[in-house]
Symmetry: C2
């Protein structure tokens, strides 16, 4: 049996068995955006890592090295944000083809350092090795949070409101535009969502400090796929109201121009790096107020149900079942 027959999420289940030698020392291991390890009575260490491989996760002709550097760290910051944590220290491994131009490496590091500066992250070292032909990037990032503020995928309860903190689908529309070579007047703005995502660390902190939310994740696999992760971890289901999913003006304009359905991008597209969470109904407006006070978006888009599986609520009141599988790296 080969990896392609199994898929990413089944692989993770398969390899997770026996990974914890000291289970009592860990709050969360495999299966959330970050691992969580208590540091002392009130604080926990967060730990996350992401690998990006040339020609799989990025193509050198599509992204300038500064943005590649930024995005490499951004995806890790977003994992910390998805737990409500504060990003702290990064170690960076780079597999470099020997013919790599030094200016390319300098520009890549300029990108890393610029986003590290914005989020007050120290780059503490790493490993630089030779790669046969492709650039390979791995970042491991630590974070910290008061233990009682950390948000997991597993806390969603029946009746909770499902919310997102931005407009989903812009990143995948940007990728679609890039891949198709189509023309679009606001090309660069749409590319920007895909190539230079802004991790929502401050939103994550506001949600965490409020102690109102019951679960949180970042949208990396796609809205429905990531909602599926919350549902699976929380043993609940979800209904997303089609009409309440916010569509950004750029995505709307792009889809109108090419006769595409913006919901396909908003529900299925990945790499938005906005936050998706759940909150008890009575606290939803309070949380919305806290985020909006600081100028951040908050959209309630559905409700957690006791029936497993995710459904879409149509404007006519009917409900349609959907496949929340999302992007699977190996299928």
């Amino acid at each position: 049996m080969e990896l392609s027959d199994l898929g990413e999420f089944s692989l993770i289940d398969r390899i997770s068995v026996g990974c914890l030698i000291r289970p009592s020392d860990v709050t969360a291991g495999i299966g959330d955006d970050c691992a969580v390890v208590p540091i002392d009575k009130g604080r926990s260490l967060l730990l996350t890592t992401d690998m990006l491989i040339e020609d799989i996760h990025f193509w050198k002709q599509d992204i300038i090295p500064e943005l590649l550097g930024r995005k490499s760290l951004a995806v890790n910051i977003s994992d910390i944000a998805a737990m409500g944590g504060i990003p702290k220290d990064a170690v960076l491994s780079l597999g470099l083809p020997v013919r790599t131009d030094l200016v390319y490496i300098d520009r890549f590091y300029d990108g890393i350092k610029s986003i590290a500066g914005e989020f007050s992250i120290n780059i503490l070292g790493g490993d630089t090795v030779k790669s046969p032909d492709r650039l390979v990037i791995n970042i491991a990032l630590t974070g910290e949070a008061p233990s009682d503020e950390i948000l997991y995928r597993s806390g969603a309860k029946e009746g909770d409101i499902i919310f997102i903190t931005g407009f989903p689908g812009n990143s995948s529309a940007g990728l679609n535009l890039l891949d198709s070579g189509r023309d679009f007047e606001a090309k660069d703005e749409l590319f920007e969502f895909h190539l230079n995502p802004r991790p929502q660390y401050r939103q994550g902190r506001i949600i965490a400090e409020s102690k109102l939310a019951s679960s949180l994740i970042d949208i990396s696999d796609g809205l429905l796929a990531d909602l599926g992760h919350i549902c699976r971890a929380s043993s609940v289901g979800a209904i997303v109201r089609r009409a309440d999913v916010p569509i950004g003006s750029l995505l709307q304009a792009y889809c109108e121009k090419y006769n595409l359905d913006p919901l396909d991008f908003a529900l299925g597209g990945g790499e938005d790096y906005i936050l998706l969470g759940t909150v008890p109904e009575k606290s939803s407006d309070i949380l919305k107020g806290l985020l909006e006070k600081d100028g951040f978006a908050y959209f309630p888009i559905g409700t957690i149900t006791c029936d497993l599986g995710t459904k879409l609520g149509n404007p006519d009141g009917s409900r349609s079942a959907i496949d929340p599988s999302g992007y699977d790296h190996f299928k």
Copy 2:
């Protein structure tokens, strides 16, 4: 200018500039075996990462997946040992060709889990992604230590004794045997040094707890190269007495059979993952006693000098300058 013109260590110097946004929060960043970040008054977090790429760092036909898993984690444990720390939690990124057989992945994880169990390390998650053609492994490992016990590369002083905690050169002799396809009666035992290194965590803890040593590193680049790292970080030089470098019986037998000089392996070969350190002369015998009490080896092999550069002391009393450059990933 390309990477191959510059080399690994110059690259590290080049990219290190501007990596610390909050320098006061860090005890050691780029340039030691691990980064060191204070956790609270008395304790520090250690952080290290290593990337292994197929056809650069390993060849699938040379190493079974269980041993590849073990070695991937072992090199990180050795970095923690080289600071005198206690290994704690690992996150593992794997870039997998889609045609990878699941049994291979299972066996690789069996290796990871077996060494994790021996060193009481929790595997807390990571990232599994598709790779175009080669297996890529990245592990980031945390550790912990009382802050006043941590050993750096930078503490060596003139007159200090240089010591090692094992027989150097066995790993590179194993690699030489593997590459050459030669015959050798104790083939498997010599391979074992290269394919299944045992990180010297307990030795590192004994040395750290004694608070006697002035510097410590693990031998990954080679004895002289790693001694060069200590000398450079400590702004000192070194003289290694040729006759005092211990040669293991297997290395001796292999070199006798093929008319090779065991010192070439012992001084120049890498990946031994034994510890190399310095200690004030008056404390050398005490440290030796502490290690030997628990059955561990301790060999004084030279002295730290105020003259920069590393020299070899010959049995006739003469001294010869040597090139401590060691293995450079990019040259």
